[in-house]
């Protein structure tokens, strides 16, 4: 069968050729943009999964504003995003945490742009008990397993009107490494004396705690387990109709998680020169204490001007019209002052 071999060889070459061509097709096309015109091309971002719902909605809305600039964002996780940023594999990175040594990006090679924030709810499943109020020290003790039943005097002290059952407490938490865990544990670490488990993406939780994959996994455990308590972002808690506890803030008031509470926390937070800020346990009677920030990292220098212009345009959109989309997706918009600072920083970084 002489013919066959040649055919096979031909097919293989054609296949290899097609593959290498496909591999080349990924870059942005160099159709220059006219002055003042909308940029066209392709920009890619990757990183934090926490703001993914907002970014996805914003990208969709942006596609209607400027269909020529194709933006993709993959929610691989903050660390993965920062690492890819350091290796020049993406055009911008999403991150819930600040850049540390060894994360990938070199100092001075990036600029933080805060985009939105969101409250992390403390959701629980205790039939018949609603509007539970939990003070900060008690919250720490619950999540490190020191308080094991719902009728513990520490919980009863802030809830004099509730009839608390003797149900055992099941801690529901993330099984994957997560910026949400990081923010929640940082809050407990900074705000309370009782918390001993440190602040990190992954915590050495008590062995009796139950881990779920992502926010939805934790939310699921809470709905399935009577006596469970866990930390879940507002979007998932709202979607599954979880009962949320009011948490004591820095001013001693008990606040339900809400977008307004989060925005109030941002207004009360101190903003550093590099635009990083810490809205956890921020001052203000209205502030929801467990409010998590999220940033986009942009490069101080882009190899490709077109990409730079694309990033600038898209991030600018996130900070202007995009802010209106935030609330629909259960994210809190930035307060005006911080938003203006972010826009200024963007304009300064990418001329």
């Amino acid at each position: 069968m002489k013919l066959n071999r040649r055919t096979i060889f031909g097919t293989i070459t054609a296949g290899a050729l097609a593959m290498s061509m496909a591999a080349c097709g990924g870059g942005s096309d160099d159709e220059g943009s006219g002055d003042g015109e909308l940029v066209s091309g392709e920009i890619t971002g990757s990183g934090a999964s926490f703001p993914d719902a907002f970014y996805a909605a914003a990208i969709e809305a942006y596609a209607e504003v400027n269909p020529d600039l194709i933006v993709t964002y993959s929610a691989d996780g903050s660390s993965a995003g920062k690492e890819a940023f350091g290796q020049n594999l993406n055009d911008f990175a999403g991150s819930d945490s600040l850049v540390k040594d060894g994360d990938g990006p070199e100092a001075d090679s990036f600029q933080y742009i805060p985009t939105v924030a969101a409250p992390i709810t403390i959701s629980y499943n205790l039939p018949g008990v609603e509007g539970l109020q939990i003070d900060q020290e008690t919250l720490a003790n619950i999540f490190q397993g020191t308080i094991t039943t719902w009728n513990d005097p520490a919980i009863a002290a802030t809830n004099p009107d509730a009839t608390l059952p003797d149900t055992a407490i099941t801690i529901a938490r993330r099984s994957d490494g997560s910026g949400t865990t990081k923010n929640f544990s940082t809050f407990l670490d900074e705000a309370t004396d009782a918390w001993t488990l440190g602040a990190s993406d992954e915590i050495e939780w008590p062995a009796t705690s139950v881990g779920g994959e992502k926010n939805t996994g934790v939310a699921q455990i809470i709905t399935q387990t009577e006596g469970a308590i866990g930390y879940v972002d507002l979007a998932d808690a709202a979607e599954l109709g979880l009962v949320t506890a009011s948490i004591e803030n820095a001013d001693g008031a008990f606040v339900q998680p809400s977008l307004d509470g989060a925005t109030a926390a941002l207004a009360g937070a101190e903003i550093a020169e590099d635009l990083s800020y810490n809205p956890l346990n921020a001052a203000g009677a209205e502030s929801y204490p467990i409010t998590a920030p999220t940033y986009i990292l942009i490069r101080t220098e882009y190899d490709d001007e077109n990409v730079a212009a694309g990033v600038k345009e898209f991030v600018n959109y996130l900070l202007t019209d995009g802010q209106d989309i935030a609330a629909e997706n259960n994210f809190a918009a930035l307060p005006d002052e911080l938003r203006q600072q972010a826009i200024d920083a963007l304009n300064e970084t990418i001329a």
């Binding site: 999964s49 691989d76 996780g77 903050s78 660390s79 993965a80 920062k82 690492e83 060894g102 994360d103 990938g104 055992a168 099941t170 099984s175 994957d176 490494g177 997560s178 910026g179 440190g198 990190s200 993406d201 992954e202 915590i203 050495e204 939780w205 062995a207 009796t208 705690s209 139950v210 881990g211 779920g212 994959e213 996994g217 699921q220 455990i221 399935q224 387990t225 006596g227 469970a228």
Partner: protein
């Protein structure tokens, strides 16, 4: 036919030999490269404290303490639970198909069992976490209550508040392994010589005595092999386990307690890992790889022994 082309066909023959040898070697090369590259990447985390890495029970990425033993424990416990359930059930199904079922219905049963193998593992995981977990939790609690007065068993089946635990993971693994083990067991049973079976009947054996006396001894090696393939799948299964295991670091004698397995912890923590933490996760992968190879090797020894024993009995 071209009789004059002997030289050419010899050349073709050589070429063919070279080609298939290369194909055969590819597997070895790929395996070797995987082992080397992963070991190299995992090295920093392993040398940090090799003893801790292998038998330590504390896993704390933020403190750079990487004891992987709880995950090994979880992998073994869930796999053993899975095997205890899957092997007898699969052998039962295979015997039913080859010996009991009607010739016409046989075909359909085989198709249905094989269909089970085509269900993606994430579907098993979702069904497990959304349907099985809430349904089975009260069952666990009831069983734990029943076992409470019995020493020993009360520790293994202790009280639980969640259905996300070793046992649920084992159940899911069992369902996932059943089609693999069944289909190989079926093939193995089909190789039992008809004459052995008829001989047993001729001696007045009942159907069960025939199965016990003729089929099972003849198939032992093959059944071990089938179980090992199932075990390999169970140990490496990632996403389905990850969704129902509860993701706790700890070694609990209670099979109703949440835990974690080697494959699942890699999948769960990979996204947000960096630096040494990443290396340690790769290290777990290397360890899992090594253990799988070891178990397969042991299975081979068992099979060979059984074969020798059987041949001895026949001669």
């Amino acid at each position: 036919m071209d009789l004059g082309g002997e030289a050419r066909s010899r050349r073709t023959d050589k070429g063919f030999t070279g080609l298939v040898t290369f194909a055969g070697l590819t597997v070895l090369i790929v395996l070797g490269l995987i082992l080397v590259t992963t070991s190299v990447q995992a090295w920093p985390a392993i040398v940090l404290d090799p003893v801790e890495f292998l038998i330590g029970t504390r896993w704390s990425p933020s403190d750079e303490v990487f004891g992987t033993f709880p995950f090994l424990y979880g992998t073994l416990v869930t796999s053993v639970i899975g095997m205890i359930i899957a092997v007898p059930v699969s052998i039962g199904i295979a015997l039913f198909i080859t010996e009991v079922a009607h010739r016409r219905s046989r075909k359909y049963i085989v198709t249905i069992v094989d269909l089970l193998a085509t269900v993606p593992s994430v579907v098993f995981g979702l069904v497990g976490s959304l349907v099985l977990v809430p349904w089975i939790t009260p069952l666990y609690q009831w069983w734990a209550g029943l076992m409470e007065p019995i020493p020993g068993l009360s520790a293994v089946f202790a009280h639980t508040q969640t259905g996300r635990n070793y046992f649920t993971a084992g159940l899911i693994l069992a369902v996932m392994c059943i089609p693999i083990i069944t289909s190989i067991a079926r093939e193995v049973f089909a190789t039992v010589p008809e004459i052995d079976k008829q001989g047993a009947y001729a001696l007045g054996a009942t159907r069960w005595e025939m199965i016990k006396g003729a089929i099972l001894p003849h198939s032992f090696g093959g059944l071990v092999g089938a179980s090992m393939l199932g075990l390999g799948r169970a140990m490496g299964e990632t996403i389905a386990v990850s969704l129902v295991i509860g993701g706790a670091v700890g070694m609990n004698a209670n099979v109703f307690a949440p835990g974690n397995t080697m494959a699942a912890v890699i999948a769960q923590q990979w996204g947000e890992a960096s630096g040494l933490h990443t290396d340690a996760l790769i290290g777990i992968g290397v360890l899992l790889f090594a253990i799988t190879v070891l178990i397969n090797f042991l299975a081979r020894v068992v099979v060979r022994r059984a074969e020798i024993k059987m041949k001895g009995a026949h001669s």
